[in-house]
């Protein structure tokens, strides 16, 4: 059953995290009969367990719906659900590139947030028709009228076009679908032109290899065709093309304007990169679609098995995970303190957490992650420039000419009451004030230029806590800048712990060293002996704390009948110790390695 192009629509739902994007998508699926209510698992589109648990979308999803509109026509609506978190903004951008319109969801009580703005700007960059929706109007604290006014003033969309909805209660669903078929333009591509299909996601399937999510913009894609990836140059033969309803359903072809998937015996998601253009090898398009960007990791951290025997398992697990996550990079790393592990690159902190959690859960590993760091560029006196993604690998200061660090433009949206706090925090974090705009609804948009390293050091948590949870943040990388940085080392029981080294601003180094030592004192559990903790800059000790020896751990009563209980108790104690990494004689918990993240 094919739909004429004029009745085809491709849309995405965009929103700040938690504004109800996925719930709204679910309602659309239900309303159009794509998923029967009885089959409705809460949040159909979030397929990973982790996504459901955390209530976030990590991977983009696509689904085709058929909607019989009031004008009597049956429309094919392709819906692409996108990740909401800033870590995955590139994926959002590619998903949007595969659409002609976007439903913008704004929470009726929260109003416009930093990611709302970021998403709107992205959607406008892609020339998408935006359908504004104010969601959660049923909540007692909702103020839909104010948010509607905000949308007009801040985003410039006419207030009359705003639809009031409650995805939870199904209010406004039909109005949204009507607006989609009325407002969003049909695709303009030509089914007979040379093939151009945009990859907006890829997933590894153990049986079929990589399933590539695409939108065909020009031409037609059929099984049996030889296709070529225009960025990587690799060619494959197409086994199957299909659509999502929402499960994969093979079709005879996908033509201009349609969204679906292709399977072509691709063994690695790296060969099916988000943003790449698929073309016909025999009749290639003259140019790839614009906007492809090689995805580069922003933060780096070491992952080490707490049990050294799990190294091989960790290696295999990373290989498997990478099949499905092109943004994850890793290479072997050896730490004097932690042994053999991997230095991994991630899109951001959430991505890092998710990877670690999946490795532990899905592969049954116990891991120790070191504090994340950014990648520095170090100019040596001999003229060479080297990247440094591990503080411990910083060259000898005598050889260093200059160190540059990655900078971002951070956009903060916050109620005006907290402007002072936000500025104070950003100033502390070496931010350079750029701009401040007052918006309706008592909102202020502040922009700062600041080091990415400061952002990953618990800036977001501070932002939230110093604004009572009201501030929201978005940031984008804008290049590298020279800075006056030094390496801070930590010694535990006299031995340097390479995995605790950090690179810090010279003027704050001593203070950071003191705070780190104090913090470690509270995090390192008492051992059988006293453990001194020292912080040092270039061999000079700047702080010292001591963890006193364990005083007492003895069960007074232990008789025959208590033995099982006592054994279980001690076994439990021991199980808890698995999270500790033995460094020399000292057992150090995971939290200690993350201590550098929050020294305020």
């Amino acid at each position: 059953m094919s739909t004429p192009t004029r009745l085809t629509r491709a849309i995405s739902v965009i929103a700040h995290v938690d504004h109800g994007k996925t719930t709204l998508s679910d309602r659309l699926l239900e309303f159009t009969g794509t998923v029967a209510p009885r089959d409705m698992v809460e949040q159909v589109l979030d397929q990973l367990d982790l996504e459901r648990e955390r209530g976030i979308t990590i991977k983009a999803q696509a689904v085709r719906m058929l909607y019989k509109a009031d004008d009597g026509n049956t429309y094919q609506i392709n819906l692409i659900d996108t990740p909401g978190h800033v870590d995955f903004s590139y994926e959002v951008s590619r998903a949007l590139a595969a659409c002609d319109g976007a439903i913008l969801v704004v929470d009726a009580s929260q109003g416009i947030e930093a990611q709302t703005l970021a998403n709107v700007h992205q959607a406008l960059d892609h020339h998408l028709k935006i359908i504004p929706v104010v969601n959660k109007i049923d909540l007692p604290q909702a103020n839909p009228e104010l948010v509607r006014e905000e949308i007009e003033k801040v985003i410039g969309l006419p207030a009359e076009s705003v639809i009031f909805a409650s995805a939870r209660q199904g209010i406004g669903t039909k109005e949204i679908l009507e607006a989609v078929v009325r407002e969003v333009p049909p695709p303009t591509g030509d089914s007979n032109a040379p093939l151009q299909a945009l990859i907006f996601d890829a997933k590894f399937d153990a049986y079929r290899g990589v399933v590539t999510y695409i939108r065909v913009l020009e031409g037609t894609l059929r099984p049996g065709m030889r296709i070529q990836m225009m960025q990587t140059g690799k060619a494959f033969e197409v086994d199957e093309v299909g659509i999502f309803r929402p499960e994969r359903t093979p079709v005879e072809d996908l033509s201009a304007g349609e969204v679906g998937y292709l399977i072509a015996n691709i063994r690695n998601v790296r060969d099916s990169r988000v943003g790449d253009t698929v073309t016909d090898e025999a009749r290639p398009a003259s140019a790839p679609l614009p906007g492809y960007r090689h995805v580069t990791p922003m933060v780096f951290a070491g992952l080490f098995p707490t049990d050294t025997e799990q190294y091989q398992q960790l290696k295999e697990a990373l290989e498997k995970l990478q099949l499905n996550d092109a943004a994850l990079v890793y290479e072997p790393e050896t730490s004097a303190a932690l042994g053999f592990g991997f230095r991994c690159g991630f899109l951001g902190l959430l991505h890092m957490e998710i990877v670690q959690e999946r490795l532990e859960r899905e592969f049954n590993l116990t891991l120790l992650g070191t504090a994340p760091t950014v990648e520095y560029r170090v100019k040596l006196r001999n003229g060479q420039e080297v990247p440094v993604d591990n503080p411990d690998k910083l060259p000898d200061p005598a050889e260093i000419e200059a160190i540059s660090e990655p900078m971002v433009i951070a956009t903060i949206v916050v109620p005006s009451t907290y402007v002072g706090n936000m500025m104070e925090l950003s100033q502390e974090r070496r931010g350079q004030f750029l701009n401040m705009e007052y918006e309706p609804g008592d909102r202020v948009v502040i922009t700062y230029r600041m080091p990415l390293a400061e952002i990953i050091h618990d800036y977001y948590d501070q932002l939230k806590s110093r604004s009572k949870g009201y501030a929201s943040l978005d940031y984008e990388l804008v290049g590298f800048e020279e800075a006056n940085l030094v390496k801070l080392d930590v010694l535990v029981a006299g031995s340097p712990i390479d995995a605790l080294s950090m690179i810090v601003d010279r003027s704050k180094a001593q203070q950071q060293g003191r705070r780190l030592a104090e913090k470690l004192k509270t995090l390192i559990p008492r051992q059988l002996f006293e453990v001194p903790i020292q912080a040092a800059i270039g061999g000079k000790i700047v702080a010292r704390e001591t963890v006193p020896a364990m005083r007492k751990d003895v069960t007074a009563k232990c008789y025959g009948g208590d033995v099982t209980r006592k054994r279980k108790l001690l076994e439990k104690q021991k199980e808890g110790k698995k999270r500790l990494k033995r460094v020399g004689n000292v057992e150090i918990p995971q939290e200690a390695f993350m201590a550098v993240l929050s020294l305020d």
Binding site: T555, G561, V563, T564
Partner: protein, 372 residues
């Protein structure tokens, strides 16, 4: 299966369940005692028929408060125990609350075959007894010990608690001194331990009660160690002391990882098969459920676990190391042993190892090391 020479009988009733106690004990259910004793005899008989048991070297009637039983009930239990085979020099212990010790009962217990009385003195200080919710006074407790001795018990133990909030070192030593003056053969001194599932645990969690600092608890412990040594008591287990020849043989057998049978509500048993595997079984905990099951079939097992020889060895080392003369049970753990010796927690002793002073203070760390 290896023959069993130790028997534990559990009596889960108390007049009042003290707030620190997390044993399997229930405030007295008077009407239940008779059917409970009846069920217990059924379980004993059934075990005698099915297990390689006896002659029994030790019998321990614990609780709860076994002294709540009438002397007839104790005699009835002992008659059934005797049918299992009781060694002529067997040690037969009964735990008693000072409130229940009378001349008449002492006579009855002796006549039933009990030859060791373990009296829950706990403290002699009125404030401490009130805090602990003990219903007897200090002088009741001393009188109980005196009556037991005078009535013919040649082997009397007193249980004491130290580290009780509000009792300083001096107060603790005064209690200890007074009890020693009664000439007990055996003494157990336990640190008051906060168990999370108890009312005391609740009070500590909510800040209503503040427990003494570790340093103060240890000060009281080591003071007792010194005093008891001076008084001629051998310190043979972390919390146990005795005159020469009066160690509690029942408990020593358990610390040596010998099999035992436990009967009664929530009682645990440990058996060893000939191939070295160790089995633990435990009975249903509640007295009602126990009576229902044991009175019918003579069985009330609620669960069991089988330990591999390796795990059983670890367990044996974990509890064996509590014996202060040392243990050879840790022989299969050379790496852990040498690590603990290096850390100053263990010392080599007669082919085995024993806890050092620091090792006693951190005995759980030592025990846990053997659980691999």
């Amino acid at each position: 299966m290896e023959r069993i020479h130790s028997l534990y009988l559990h009596v889960p009733f108390c007049t009042w369940v003290c707030k620190y106690c997390d044993f399997n004990a229930y405030a007295v259910l008077d009407g239940l005692i008779a059917p409970y004793v009846e069920a217990l005899t059924r379980e004993i008989d059934a075990a005698a028929d099915t297990l390689p048991i006896g002659p029994l070297e030790t019998v321990f009637i614990g609780g709860g408060t076994p002294s709540l039983l009438t002397t007839d009930q104790v005699r009835l239990l002992m008659d059934h125990v005797r049918a299992m085979g009781l060694a002529s020099n067997a040690e037969v212990t009964l735990e008693a609350n000072p409130s229940n010790v009378t001349g008449e009962r002492v006579d009855g217990w002796l006549a039933a075959g009990v030859n060791r009385l373990s009296i829950g003195v706990q403290s002699l200080r009125p404030d401490a007894l009130r805090f602990l919710e003990r219903l007897h006074s200090g002088s009741d407790a001393i009188e109980a010990v005196r009556m037991a001795r005078a009535g013919g018990f040649a082997n009397v133990n007193a249980d004491l608690l130290y580290g009780v909030p509000g009792v300083n070192l001096e107060g603790w030593l005064e209690t200890l001194e007074t009890v020693l003056a009664q000439g007990v053969q055996h003494l157990s001194a336990y640190e008051l331990t906060v168990e999370s599932q108890t009312r005391l645990g609740q009070e500590v969690r909510t800040g209503l009660v503040q427990m003494p600092e570790a340093d103060d608890q240890l000060e009281q412990y080591w003071a007792a160690v010194a005093r008891l040594e001076a008084a001629g008591y051998g310190h043979y287990e972390i919390s146990n002391w005795s005159r020469p020849g009066f160690v509690c043989r029942h408990n020593v057998a358990a610390w040596h990882y010998q099999p035992y049978l436990g009967c009664g509500a929530g009682a645990h048993s440990m058996f060893r098969s000939n191939d070295g595997r160790t089995e633990r079984r435990w009975n249903v905990k509640g007295p009602h459920a126990y009576i229902k099951q044991a009175a019918g079939s003579g069985h009330a097992v609620a669960g069991s676990e089988t330990l591999s020889p390796e795990r059983a060895n670890g367990e044996a080392a974990m509890i064996g190391v509590r014996l202060l003369d040392g243990t050879t049970a840790a022989r299969d753990f050379p790496a852990q042993r040498s690590q603990l010796v290096d850390a100053g927690l263990l010392a080599e002793a007669d082919g085995g190892v024993r806890l050092t002073r620091r090792g006693i203070e951190l005995a759980n760390q030592v025990g846990a090391a053997f659980l691999v």
